[in-house]
Structures are given as structure tokens and as C-alpha cells.
């Protein structure tokens, strides 16, 4: 069951939705948003693709097993917690560094952001694992 409208719309929607998910992820540091909601939007994008093109196509598009995405996300989240431990503080203590970009500007980046990226990946991986296995059962 392939709908021309859905497939065409999906092609245009996917990049925008993925951009939105990244926006939500990075906005979440100080404002409403965050890794979980961003991850859900990203997972939703792939689910839309799944509706339009079917499970095999989506798996081909993803290239990697969603479980591996989950694992990488867990690793990222765990790593950003361990930074605190290595610095002699309790687990999960926040640490920030400023990467100089020249002209007196700098990128202020810290472990909460990397933790959120980890959450983002975990949510994508876990949601897609469940949804794709449901879709395959159909």
C-alpha cells in the first residue's frame, strides 16, 4: 500500500523534522525542549518513513541496528557522568569547557549537553527498536 501523497510529502518533511529534532535537543539546555522530546521527534521521522515506504526501506535508510544507536547513546550519557568522577567529584557532576573560536568568541560546552545527546540517541534507538519490531510483525 504505497500512497504517492505520503511518499512525496515524507521526502520533503523528513529533513525538516530532523532539523526540528536537533533544534529541540540543543534548545533544551536552557529552555523547554531536550533530549527526550528531540529523540521522539527524530524517531517519529523514521516512523513516518516506515509508514510511507515500509520496514525494509527504513532499515536500509538507518543502516545500523537501532539497538546499536541505543548502546552508543547509553555510552555517551554514561561517559558524561563519568567526567565528574574523573575530576574527583561525585558521578554526574557538571563540567564545562570553552572552546575558543577566535575573535574573543568561544563555544561553551558541558557535560549536561553531552548527556542530553546520549538521551536523544537512546530514545531514538529504543523507540525504533520497538516500533520496527511491531511493524515487522504486521
Amino acid at each position: 500500500m504505497k500512497s504517492v501523497i505520503l511518499t512525496t510529502a515524507t521526502r520533503y518533511l523528513m529533513p525538516m523534522l530532523l532539523l526540528l529534532s536537533a533544534f529541540l535537543l540543543f534548545r533544551g539546555h536552557n529552555l523547554p525542549g531536550g533530549g527526550f522530546i528531540g529523540g521522539l521527534v527524530a524517531a517519529g521521522t523514521f516512523i513516518l518513513h516506515n509508514f510511507a515506504f515500509g520496514v525494509e526501506e527504513t532499515r536500509r535508510l538507518l543502516r545500523i541496528n537501532p539497538l546499536v544507536i541505543t548502546a552508543v547513546g547509553l555510552l555517551t550519557a554514561m561517559g558524561s557522568g563519568v567526567v565528574g568522577l574523573l575530576a574527583g567529584n561525585p558521578f554526574m557532576t557538571g563540567h564545562w569547557i570553552t572552546i575558543p573560536l577566535g575573535k574573543g568568541q568561544g563555544l561553551h560546552i558541558g557535560t549536561p549537553v553531552t548527556f542530553d545527546i546520549g538521551v536523544y540517541l537512546v530514545v531514538i534507538g529504543a523507540t525504533l527498536t520497538i516500533i520496527l519490531s511491531l511493524a515487522e510483525g504486521e
Partner: protein, 115 residues
Amino acid sequence: MNTLIAVLVGVLFGAGIYLMLSRTPVRLIIGLVFLSNAINLLIFDAAGLTRGIPPIIASGAEKLARSHADPLPQALILTAIVISFGVLAFALVLFNRTFKTLPARDLSDLKATDT
């Protein structure tokens, strides 16, 4: 407002439990969804509702306004939502798989492992 939400919580609990008593698997799942939403509202309500005063220190001020909204219950609810989302998604997959594999039609047919 507190009372209204309390009544809503009660209705959701009642509806959830009623649905869970049914023998149709889908109703059981919907009942669980109702139940988890009822609990989230309950946490929200029990911790007290404060409107329009977010716990953000205004620029220039030293501390929070006196009666600000408590952010912790919202964090708790967010966590609970995430967890119930994961658990219910798993339950859905499990029920789906089970009723495809087993000859059972509804929950009352699941008697093979009982004691």
C-alpha cells in the same frame, strides 16, 4: 482547581481499573494507560498547584519569589511519563506477539501456566 483535578484523578483511576477488569487485551492496555496518567495527575495535584509563577530567579533579584511553583513534581512526572511510555510500549509488543502466537482469543484463555 485542586478539587477539579482530584475528581479527574478519581475518574481516571476508576475508568482505568474498570477497563483492566475486562478480558479484552486491548482494554487492559488502555486501562494501564489511564492508570499511569491518573497517577501523573495525582503527583501534580498532591504537590500543590501554583499558577503562573515559575521557579526562575528574575534577573537582578537574589532569590525566588515567595510562592513559586515547585519544579520537582514536574520532573518526577516527566520521568514517570518516560518510564510508562517505555513499559507500555513493551507491553503492547508482548500482547501483540502473544495473541498472534497463542490460540487464545482473550485474557480468560490464558490458563496454561496457572497453578
